[in-house]
Amino acid sequence: MDLEWSAADLAFRDEVHAFLDERLTPDLRRAGRLMTSVYADHEASMRWQAILHERGWAAPAWPVEYGGCDWTVTQHYLFSRESILAGAPPLSPMGISMVAHVLIEFGTPEQKEFFLPRILTGEVFFCQGYSEPEAGSDLAALSMSAVEDGDDLVCTGSKIWTTHATEANWMFCLVRTSRAAKKQQGITFLLIDMSSPGIEVRPLVMTSGEQIQNQEFFDHVRVPKANVVGEIDDGWTVAKYLLEFERGGSAAAPKLQVMADQVARAAAGQPGPDGGPLLESPAFAAKLADARIRIDVLEVLEFRVLSAAAGGKNPGTASSMLKILGTELSQTLTELLLEAAGPRGRAYQPHATRPGGPLAGFAPPADGYVSGEEWQAVAPLRYFNDRAGTIYAGSNEIQRNILAKAALGL
């Protein structure tokens, strides 16, 4: 038992590092560094995906036959960690990390052949249509209807909170094909071409002023049955399979470490209550140390889950645990960054950041003026946006309910 990397791991890490050093342009790093949420600027993220694809690293977790990499669990971890440390903008998870796994497991040969290569190149960009106005935490209560008509399903209803629906040309979604006694039955997993007639997309304005999430209205939208993944009425099985990737796909600790380092750098340059650097004020230093301790421990917890997964074990309830710990730590770090920002944390200056979508009703100053430094402009927006971490992908209350049942047998 040990916590060290092998020589081969270290060599791999250096290879990744050298690649990032060479190919991550200053603008891409900026796009990564000035993100205000978990969503990167779409254009920057697609540009980075193209560069990764060229190297064969756009979707390392896929099976090799579809364009993935034959890496060990440790190598996957090191790749994602090095990318984060270098400040690479993250790729959109909906295609590469979510629906692709479903297609690989449940898709027809035609579906695989059409979608997988196009997801890799970015030609197909997916959004996730699960949530509905009346079906959030209670996802299985979804009601968007899909009625069979010849070779088509005719869809009517609404989806909400759909991230990047305006950028996406495809949506994977859950629709209701029949009303059975049990609400989990009668759901179908469907791929919808966003250019189909009858779809209206309305952007939602979040507290940060950003428009990344959307509501869509479907009015008798015809979708070929060939776009059903898995069996009609058996979409819940497919959806549950995908949820495992959404909740526990990657390790959070490296990103949290980067955030903690950023907080430390920020606080070193700001005055604390006693006039010395904030970083040296006992109250702030204790809070940051506490966050770092939680990250150190989370990292080992994640290693344990990763090595169990390498041994072929399903992460099971561990993904709920990691989701709770990771998102709540992230929120703590955004609080600390906002504290470090000082009075300037109150200024609303999204023009000094790289948000993941357009801004509603904001005109940047003509002279481009920024009060303080860019990270001080990022701090309040990241704080607001990060509140979503404990809401989406199964709220933390729902994760606790899952753990109560599955981990404790209550």
């Binding site: 209550p273 607001f384 979503a388 209350e397």
Partner: protein
């Protein structure tokens, strides 16, 4: 001991609450806040002419009605409840608090009562953090004038304000209490560089650069180097009023969250029926009730000797900062996706509560001030 409001104070509260419920529309006020003007001037006119709240706490000699801290508390709480962006605390409580002690020339207090003078406190600087007595900007005499050099940051309420209440150092080191001088100057003074921007809580602020800005001798308030003696008690009054504003916001946010949890159904039942959420809302309620008590503590101790007054207002700020964070965050959480949007009032209140958490110093500052003022008994 008595926590009851007089008949006049109740009337003040009810008439203001009614007026705001009728006339202060949340959507319209957000639109105004996002615009270049940044506020609704007609609201301020009504505050002066119809409601008389701008003079409620100022002396009768300047046209006010001679009320005190309790009147300020009653007013600020109602303004907080309606999420009013117009600068009451900065102008009347902080600005008025300084000018009551150091009158200045040109009858600015009468202007405040009439609504024609609005004050933006220009205290914080790029290197001050949240410490108001950390002043690096300087003022020196030149013939009959003052010449000011330095920078101020996040000066709240600049497009609405007519005047700046500005600190500059005339002697001593950056954090000395002695040697701070206070100046009252028009906001459109030639030579003053102003960079305006919006704030996260739907208000406006500005950074100022003073590069040898010239002021007449009369711009100095009170004695040279003795500004802190007036600013310090006025800041404590502003802390008490900010606590009341916070209470107004907090009560509304809690009420909205409880109401939402009764309406919103998931898993075939109102989400308010889940015990996990019930306990969370009870914890929010406990934070709100402690904030109310802290608001009284600060308000009723404003007349005490300085150390006692400072301890009470710091205790209040620590309490409301904690409540602002806990109640704001959990209100968002319990609203789910809806809580993240600007569609419901909750998103706007969360932003204001976040600003309040830090305004006039975050909890750690006030814990440190409280500790320093509390004798250690061995």
């Amino acid at each position: 001991m008595d926590f009851s409001l007089t008949a006049e104070q109740q009337l003040l509260r009810d008439s203001l609450a009614d007026w705001l419920a009728d006339r202060y529309d949340l959507a319209r006020s957000r639109e105004a806040a996002a615009s270049e003007t940044g506020w609704q001037p007609e609201v301020w006119r009504s505050f002066a002419d119809d409601l008389g709240i701008l003079g409620a706490t100022l002396p009768e000699e300047v046209g006010g009605s001679g009320g005190g801290p309790v009147e300020a508390m009653v007013i600020a709480e109602q303004l907080g409840r309606a999420l009013v962006v117009e600068p009451y605390v900065d102008t009347v409580v902080l600005g008025g608090g300084v000018l009551r002690r150091l009158p200045g020339t040109g009858d600015p207090l009468e202007g405040i009562v009439a609504g024609s003078v609005r004050i933006a406190p220009a205290l914080l600087e790029p290197t001050s953090g949240h410490t108001a007595h950390s002043v690096a900007a300087t003022a020196r005499r030149d013939g009959g004038d003052w010449v000011l050099t330095g920078a101020k940051t996040v000066v709240p309420g600049v497009p609405q304000a007519t005047h700046l209440l500005l600190t500059a150092r005339t002697s001593g080191e950056q954090r000395d209490l002695d040697g701070i001088s206070l100046f009252l100057l028009p906001v459109d003074l030639p030579g003053l560089q102003v960079h305006r921007y919006r704030t996260i809580d739907d208000r406006h602020a500005a950074d100022l650069v003073l590069d040898d800005v010239r002021l007449p001798a009369a711009a100095l308030l009170g004695e040279e180097g003795r500004g802190w003696t007036a600013l310090s008690p006025a800041l404590d009054e502003a802390l008490a009023a900010l606590a009341a504003e916070a209470v107004g916001c907090l009560r509304r946010v809690l009420a909205d969250t409880v109401a939402y949890s009764k309406e919103r159904r998931q898993f075939g039942q109102p989400i308010g029926s889940f015990q996990a959420l019930q306990h969370r809302m009870v914890d929010m309620h406990l934070e709100v009730e402690q904030s109310v008590a802290a608001m009284y503590l600060a308000t009723l101790r404003l007349g005490a000797e300085p150390a006692e007054r400072a301890r009470a207002t710091s205790a209040a700020k620590v309490t409301i900062s904690r409540a602002a964070r806990f109640v704001g965050q959990n209100a968002v959480q319990l609203h789910g996706g809806m809580g993240m949007t600007q569609e419901l009032a909750i998103g706007h209140y969360f932003k204001r509560l976040t600003a309040i958490e830090y305004e006039l110093g975050p909890a750690d500052h006030h814990r440190a001030r409280y500790a320093a003022l509390t004798p250690t008994t061995g």
